[in-house]
């Protein structure tokens, strides 16, 4: 996986949180809908928006998938461990460069 894909595995549950830094625009919606406060905005000087979402507490994720459903940018995925790799995610920039 490229450096712009962030992966966090929960220690308590069969949950993996994936974030695509290329797609995230730092709009704050996922952070607002997350009840266990797993997510936070961090500074991203390399991006035009200046901020990007990051995981601060992956262990408390309840797999409610609200962040994934409410994300307008297809930038966050909540998956089971066995689903990672089967579900396409990330590397959209690379695809563009290849074409």
């Amino acid at each position: 996986m490229s450096e712009n894909i962030l992966r966090y595995d929960s220690k308590k549950k069969d949950v993996v949180i994936l974030i695509d830094r290329n797609l995230c625009k730092g709009c704050d919606i996922c952070i607002k809908v997350c009840k266990p406060e797993c997510l936070a905005l961090v500074d991203a000087p390399d991006k035009w928006e200046g901020a990007v979402v990051d995981v601060v507490n992956a262990d408390d994720c309840t797999f409610c998938k609200l962040c994934e459903l409410q994300c307008p940018d297809f930038g966050i995925r909540i998956l089971r461990k066995d689903e990672v790799g089967k579900i396409q995610f990330g590397d959209t920039k690379k695809t563009a460069a290849e074409q």
């Binding site: 709009c27 704050d28 919606i29 797999f63 409410q70 994300c71 307008p72 940018d73 297809f74 959209t92």
Partner: protein, 280 residues
């Protein structure tokens, strides 16, 4: 057993991402719910045509890896009617903004409703013309500021649900961008419905609408929508005074009795051909 994860990128032209919509724009959530509904129906993406007109919302088909058509302003439904008549076995979805569907395409909208042709119309109602610079649209609320109404809008707003019902659509629902799960359910029911279905989604345009009405970011504007909406089940228990200023969401109308247009057309062809065969 929880639902299997949806492979969103399979339905998207991934190389075109990130999309052109502003950070936090509701259209992204509408597109995602649309894909979720298509995935849960198990439709082949090659059997679906997504058609749009002009506007921010109408850029959606550009990102979707299906048969897509980006047409002239307000005329998405006319093109969609043509596609449906030529290929009645395909699934036709029209995604449109409030200005595109109800102002410039208002006439096409009411007549598509009247015909009851098997098309799903998704209206992303963000109360404004976003792409062209924030002019007021037929759904801008009374008193709201827009680029062309700097002292407040004096036009009463359209109620799209009542308009669609009155014009003859057979499935009408209203959802809001703050509840993607319900939105996905209405999309699924609307797509499954054999007849003209209209799903209005109350969405946020914090860049053009919010900025002029003291809601300059996505969160404030989605909260504003959340405060206004009441589900139809909850609304049934509320008094008219409590419902003042509220917008009712939910499945508003569902009629499976009325004849669908392409079915009627096939019957007509059969009838006329039988008559011609008798003569010959």
């Amino acid at each position: 057993m929880p639902k299997a994860a949806v492979d969103y990128l399979y339905y998207l032209r991934a190389e075109k991402l990130p999309h052109m919509w502003c950070p936090g724009c509701g259209i992204g959530i509408v597109v995602k719910s649309m894909i979720g509904a298509i995935d849960s129906l198990g439709w082949d993406k090659n059997d679906i045509a997504v058609i749009s007109g002009i506007g921010c919302t109408s850029r959606a088909p550009g990102y979707m890896d299906m048969n897509t058509l980006h047409t002239t302003h307000g005329r998405a439904l006319s093109f969609a009617t043509g596609v449906k008549m030529a290929a009645p076995d395909k699934h036709i979805i029209v995604i449109s903004g409030d200005g595109d569907a109800t102002a410039i395409g208002g006439n096409h909208f009411i007549h598509a409703c009247r015909r009851n042709i098997d098309i799903t119309l998704i209206i992303n109602n963000n109360n404004i013309y976003g792409m062209t610079g924030g002019q007021f649209s037929p759904t801008t609320p009374y008193g709201a500021r827009a680029a062309t109404t700097p002292h407040g809008n004096i036009d009463p707003a359209f109620d799209l649900v009542e308009l669609a019902k009155g014009a003859g659509a057979t499935y009408v629902a209203r959802g809001a961008v703050d509840n993607a799960r319900m939105m996905e359910k209405y999309f699924k029911d609307g797509m499954e419905h054999h007849g003209f279905s209209v799903i209005e989604i109350l969405s946020n345009c914090h860049t053009q609408y919010g900025r002029r009405n003291k809601m300059a970011d996505a969160i404030t504007m989605i909260d504003w929508i959340s405060d206004q909406v009441v589900s139809n089940k909850k609304a049934a228990k509320m008094s008219p005074e409590e419902l003042e200023g509220k917008i009712i969401t939910g499945e508003m109308y569902h009629n499976t009795e009325l004849a669908e247009y392409t079915d009627e057309y096939a019957k007509l062809i059969e009838r006329v051909q039988a008559k011609a065969a008798l003569k010959a």
